[in-house]
Symmetry: C2
Subunit: 355 residues, 2 copies
């Protein structure tokens, strides 16, 4: 059987209506659409064939039709009308993004929240960077009674610090020597270079501060490791409670728990395969738990070799056009924001006390 233009038109109408109403769509509803100059009988015939071809499904004999996963696939790939963001929408997205975002982890959280808000669906945001970051510079500051602050400046322009209690007595000049040594031997190295070998070499030349070297090195490795890791945040899980398909609490609960960060641990791995905006319909999905939902995700760039991803999870019947439009716009704006030639640049950070 062939997929004629008219069949496509009907299919599209069914999906559109179903997205709007979340109810099976009957032939009559279709005929009432503008631009649909056929009788309900004709539509019925077409729908019967679309059902036979697997694009539509029928919950029970005397109900209307519901798009199948295959139907959705076709819809997002070919039929969906482009959704144009209104000025209000772009404005609200922009103002949301423009709030300052200091640290990567905070940023990820905030983005997730923003995306969720913009789409009214649960959202996921991931940022990951692997390798490439090095320590550009060490500074040691004497901090009163027997402790020092180690300040690391990273190639990514982030600055981290740590307070270390001194195991031995040291004075300002000792510190100067030690920091010169560190800057000479341990800067601009990839994380893999920090091994026992390096430690030994540095300690041999360290003199008075030798006992500090392992602690500092551990801190350095820790920091680089953290840089390398993946940050992920989920927000707005409870938004699904507003959707008719999740009136059933059990269903909602199942989905919500499967959206928890731990169960999405596998997601960052998918990141590499994504390009542009991608839609995963129902069973095509990443994880089994999500198999009767759809996921829309987009990648964006964060400079410094970092990559980000934002995505939303929703019912298969979500408004793909709108969601993809918002998501793409969001991703674009974020990319732009990170690419922006840095303003009078100022970085800021806090540190607690305690290990």
């Amino acid at each position: 059987m062939e997929l004629t233009e008219r069949k496509k038109k009907v299919l599209r109408s069914v999906v559109d209506l179903y997205i709007r109403t979340a109810e099976p769509v009957g032939s009559k509803a279709i005929t009432e659409l503008p631009d649909m100059n056929y009788s309900s009988a004709t539509i019925r015939n077409e729908m019967a064939e679309l059902t036979a071809m697997g694009y539509l499904e029928q919950p029970h004999t005397s109900a209307g039709r519901v798009p199948s996963a295959v139907g959705y696939r076709l819809y997002v790939d070919e039929l969906m009308a482009e959704y144009r963001l209104s000025i209000d929408e772009t404005k609200s997205i922009n103002s949301a993004i423009e709030e300052k975002m200091n640290k990567v982890d905070k940023m990820v959280e905030k983005v997730a929240r923003l995306v969720s808000q913009a789409t009214d669906l649960p959202a996921i945001s991931v940022a990951s960077r692997c390798g490439g970051v090095t320590i550009r510079r060490f500074d040691l500051i004497l901090a009163g009674v027997g402790s020092i602050i180690v300040v690391l400046m990273l190639s990514s322009d982030e600055v981290v610090n740590k307070l270390i209690r001194l195991p031995v007595q040291m004075d300002e000049s000792d510190l100067k020597i030690l920091s010169a040594l560190l800057n000479a031997t341990m800067t601009d190295l990839d994380i893999s270079a920090f091994d026992g070998n390096l430690l030994e070499r540095v300690m041999r030349s360290a003199g008075a501060g030798a006992s500090l070297v392992p602690v500092i090195m551990e801190f350095a490795v820790d920091t680089l490791q953290k840089q390398c890791g993946t940050n992920m945040a989920v927000a707005g899980q409870m938004r699904i409670l507003g959707l008719p398909e999740y009136r059933d609490v059990d269903k909602a609960q199942k989905l919500i728990t499967s959206l928890d960060e731990e169960s999405l641990a596998g997601l960052p791995a998918v990141l590499n395969n994504v390009n542009g905006t991608q839609v995963l319909v129902g069973p095509e999905n990443v994880s089994r738990e999500l198999k009767d939902t759809s996921v829309v995700m987009t990648k964006f760039d964060i400079g410094d070799g970092m990559q980000g991803m934002i995505g939303v999870v929703g019912p298969t019947r979500m408004d793909y056009a709108k969601v993809t439009a918002r998501l793409s716009y969001f991703a674009e704006s974020l990319s732009k924001m990170f690419a922006k030639p840095e303003q009078p640049q100022i970085a800021e950070g806090t540190s607690g006390k305690e290990e």
Copy 2:
């Protein structure tokens, strides 16, 4: 009418059973309890009187009884058996707490999550400190091409830093002079002392670095302000979905949103009135939205003049004994942890880039 011992016993049984089953409790169910050597008729009489006295309520004529808010009040104040934490429970709480918690905001989040997990209810965690923190020390570090890192060490032992691009050329000795000046004039001052007056005075003596002073001072004020603020986190909102009273999605959603947003902004203010563990039953509650739930909260100490609070929100029918036990234990452990004479102390922090 008098509240005899037997009436109390009956009331207690009703509450206990209702906590377990979430269903109205009938006279027969009570007689079946061990230690209840009366017939159902007697119990019925007692229950009728308890109802008349306002401790119990009857959803409809032919249903069992449900505790009223007053009844719950009496229960938590007098009748409730103490719940003893099992070794497993204390162990899991301890191990949860012992994970390191670096920064205050992260800490607050983590605590909320832990409490929620321990009680299987939505949890709130607040940490607030007002005043008292000062800057103990300034350090300026030259950071390559025309920028410096300002490092503030606070009286609370926290260390914060910020990268500032230099508006003018400065060398190491300029910085030394400036930092000496800052340390001489701006340390150990309460936040209120940072006014235009001080700024002017410092700038007059600053020489080469004068143009930096406003930026640094702004950063200092910002930092102190942040120290002074309140951190709050909510976690586990969706746990209510597991409770029979929230099978109704609309109800659940209402509660969740009233927990979610900073609709709880007023809560920190309550903190001062709390002492020890406190139970708010139904209509006694803080905010109108929570009026048919109960809140249990406990205060704890974080040293440095900081105060913390943890609390959970749940149905009026929650297991007060268990929840208060867990919460108190949690609070105690936290207090202990923060009071602990600092180990080989090491503090750590990160900083982003960007303002």
